[in-house]
């Protein structure tokens, strides 16, 4: 009697395992010399990073459409095998699937540094070239993998850029020396916030700021309330307020700063929520004067920087709305660079790709948005641009560096009440 139960259970087990064995759809396997060129694309499309993961993927998809409209790569159609990786475990499974089940020969991603970490690991083990277009965690490139490249700037660049902008532009405008300046670094405590602010702090110390004048306030991005961060910062009375946050915490910070009447003369964010349209929508005029360093966004000097308006037009045509953030353009640029490398290499062979990538030496503004391409020995693109943008009441406009700037920054930032009256 009991035997039959176990028999039944065994049947179920076996059927489920069979499901596993045959599971997944049949996808195109990237063949080396004929048929479509298949890229693995791994992004978080569900879960907490879904919004920007999706936005990133869109940039790549626009590029793919464009390529195919112009004959494809090496005369072959380009196809994306998209994998959703909402967390690290999924990233490993999906990367494995793409490589071992679907035979993908090149992969890119991932927006989230944690996903990038894991995906690049898997790729390294199978010696599949991996390109990171948007994740900025410094660790990713420090593991010594020979076939990993990052086209965008990293957290080190973000943090250093923040410090540079404040020191070169803001302090002189306020008439303060670095040795006398007081700053607060408030950052969400994940990989993103921590790595950027660490780099920022290092740079600040190098520029001559005094350690006792630098206050660190980490916080959890998922907090429901950030008034303690604001109060802490306010009591320190900083000349410059550095933040690194995602969208919801950026909105909270701005709103609660307004409620508690904390308006530092300089407020600079780093990517994430500071550059995104939803932030402006939620906070409104309060965003005026707030700045953020990020990948190039859409209001830059169009005389000097190429391709931006065309990209926006393509985006609007395909998705029916203005880009939600600069990530799409960043991934588009990354894709441009990767395709360029591939065309140089002439094939998907990893060593030819490596040779082509190493030889790359394209100056600033070769590609869209100001991008250039030159990779250092870890695979990091040193010609990846970073731009400080400032919010007007309607949009984010570039203010630094000069090549991108279309207006002067407003220093100090007007009071909250003045801004509301605008």
């Amino acid at each position: 009697m009991k035997k039959k139960i176990y028999f039944l259970i065994s049947v179920i087990l076996i059927l489920s395992l069979a499901l596993t064995g045959c599971g997944g759809g049949g996808a195109d396997t990237g063949n080396d010399s004929e048929g479509p060129v298949v890229f693995g694309a791994i992004f978080p499309l569900t879960g907490p990073n879904a919004l920007l993961g999706d936005e990133s993927l869109r940039g790549a998809q626009i590029m793919v459409d464009e390529l195919n409209a112009n004959g494809g790569l090496w005369g072959r159609e380009v196809v994306l095998n998209v994998a959703d990786a909402p967390d690290a475990t999924a990233a490993q499974t999906e990367a494995e699937r793409l490589i071992t089940k679907d035979g993908v020969k090149i992969m890119f991603g991932a927006y989230s540094s944690a996903i990038a970490n894991v995906a690049s690991d898997v790729c390294a083990r199978y010696e599949v070239p991996y390109f990171e277009f948007g994740g900025i965690g410094t660790d990713i490139m420090r593991k010594g993998y020979p076939y990993v490249w990052r086209t965008c700037a990293d957290a080190f660049g973000f943090g250093t850029g923040q410090a540079q902008y404040v020191t070169e532009i803001c302090l002189p405008a306020l008439g303060i020396e670095p040795a006398d300046a007081k700053v607060v670094l408030a950052y969400e405590d994940s990989l993103y916030g921590t790595s950027v602010s660490e780099a920022c702090q290092e740079a600040l110390l190098e520029f001559g700021y005094k350690p006792e004048n630098i206050k660190n306030i980490p916080y959890a991005a998922t907090s429901v309330d950030l008034s303690s961060v604001i109060l802490d910062a306010k009591s320190f009375n900083p000349d410059a307020f550095f933040t690194v946050s995602y969208v919801n915490d950026q909105i909270l910070l701005a709103r609660q700063a307004e409620e508690l009447n904390f308006q530092p003369p300089v407020w600079i964010g780093a990517g994430g929520g500071m550059s995104m349209t939803p932030t402006l929508e939620a906070v409104g005029n309060g965003m005026y004067g707030l700045t953020g360093i990020d990948f190039p966004q859409y209001e830059v000097d169009k005389e000097k920087i190429n391709g931006v308006d065309e990209f926006v037009a393509k985006y609007e045509e395909k998705y029916g709305a203005f880009p939600r953030s600069g990530h799409s353009m960043t991934n588009y640029a990354g894709m441009q660079i990767m395709i360029d490398i591939l065309e140089e290499a002439g094939s998907m062979d990893k060593d030819e790709i490596k040779a082509a990538a190493t030889a790359m030496d394209k100056p600033f503004n070769t590609y869209i948005g100001g991008w250039g391409a030159k990779f250092d020995e870890t695979g990091q693109n040193v010609n990846a641009p970073l731009v400080v943008g400032m919010w007007t009441t309607e949009k984010l406009v570039a203010v630094w560096p000069e090549e991108f700037a279309i207006t002067e920054p407003v220093i100090p930032i007007p009071s909250w009440s003045d801004k509301r009256a605008m």
Binding site: T46, G47, P48, A50, L51, D54, D189, I217, P218, Y219, A220, T222, V224, D225, S227, S228, V229, L231, D232, S235, V247, N248, I251, R255, Q256, E258, E259, L260, N261, P278, E281, A282, G284, G286, R324, W416
Partner: protein
């Protein structure tokens, strides 16, 4: 001055927590179900407020007229369809049922409305009242006042009206209530309905100052549990006070100790209460926590 501001911020935050938790205390206290989907109820209600605003231009405070009745019905529905069939099962089964419900709701929201953050644009979202150097956020003050009013109203309702007394009877001793001829099933549905309606109210009050996305339920849900246990099951005033206390603890810990640890503090308080006085600060029924529900 700094301390004053911290305290005020803490109280205002506490008002929000109280508002979110009062519905849960009703459900937990009367129906004896840990509604693990409580946070998700709030999330769905907030989406409702959002869509009413976007599609019909309805101000969040006006939407109270809609969210409260809609969620009352929703609560009755959930109790009848989901909980009633397993009412007699061990509490653990009920936990998993509501856990499953929470999963379904948050991912349905993800499927339908994706992960974008939605907020309503109202002119008063950052309005403040300034008293010398202190700032009090207006939407938070409104939430605080509502929370207080709800506590008072619910207390009167539970002590002075017939229906309220029936609810309290069921909460205190189900068997006796049955013997007294009270339709316990109906009371459960009403209690769940009221609990959910309060969540609907909370959502309308929250939208002017927050934004909604599918996983926001997780945050508020957990806090609601802490508040409810702190205040004592089924006790409205307890939930109100509990909310204030948690808000204050969070604010003070954040300002004076370490912002990274502020949540740790209220969890530790939570654990201490569970260990030392599980019936809460102001308990209503007997110490059912030690006897099992």
């Amino acid at each position: 001055m700094y301390l004053m501001q911290v305290l005020i911020s803490g109280l205002m935050l506490g008002g929000i927590y109280a508002m979110v938790s009062m519905g849960l205390t009703m459900i937990f206290g009367v129906v004896r179900v840990i509604n693990f989907a409580h946070g998700e109820f709030l999330m769905i209600a907030m989406y409702l407020v959002y869509w009413l605003n976007v599609l019909l231009g309805m101000d969040p405070y006006v939407s109270i007229l809609i969210t409260v009745p809609v969620f009352f019905v929703f609560g009755v529905f959930v109790q009848r369809i989901l909980i009633q069939p397993i009412q007699e099962s061990p509490a653990t089964i009920k936990i998993f049922s509501t856990l499953g419900l929470g999963l379904v709701l948050s991912n349905l929201a993800l499927m339908l409305w994706d992960a974008d953050y939605r907020s309503v644009k109202v002119s008063y979202s950052t309005a403040v009242i300034n008293i010398s150097e202190l700032s009090i956020s207006v939407p938070r003050l409104i939430a605080f006042i509502f929370a207080l009013l709800v506590a008072v109203f619910m207390y009167s309702f539970l002590t002075k009206t017939d229906l309220g007394k029936q609810i309290r009877a069921v909460s205190q001793n189900r068997q006796a209530a049955l013997l007294m001829g009270i339709n316990v099933r109906k009371i459960y549905m009403i209690a769940f309905g009221i609990g959910s309606a309060l969540v609907g109210l909370a959502a309308s009050l929250l939208m002017p100052m927050y934004f909604v996305y599918p996983s926001i339920g997780l945050l508020f849900g957990l806090i609601a549990f802490v508040v409810v246990v702190l205040g004592g099951l089924g006790n409205m005033y307890g939930a109100f006070l509990g909310g204030l206390i948690i808000g204050l603890v969070e604010a003070i810990a954040g300002a004076y100790i370490d912002p990274a640890l502020k949540e740790v503090f209220y969890f530790i308080i939570f654990i201490l209460i569970l260990l030392l006085k599980p019936s809460g600060l102001i308990s209503m029924g007997r110490g059912s926590e030690e006897v099992g529900l």
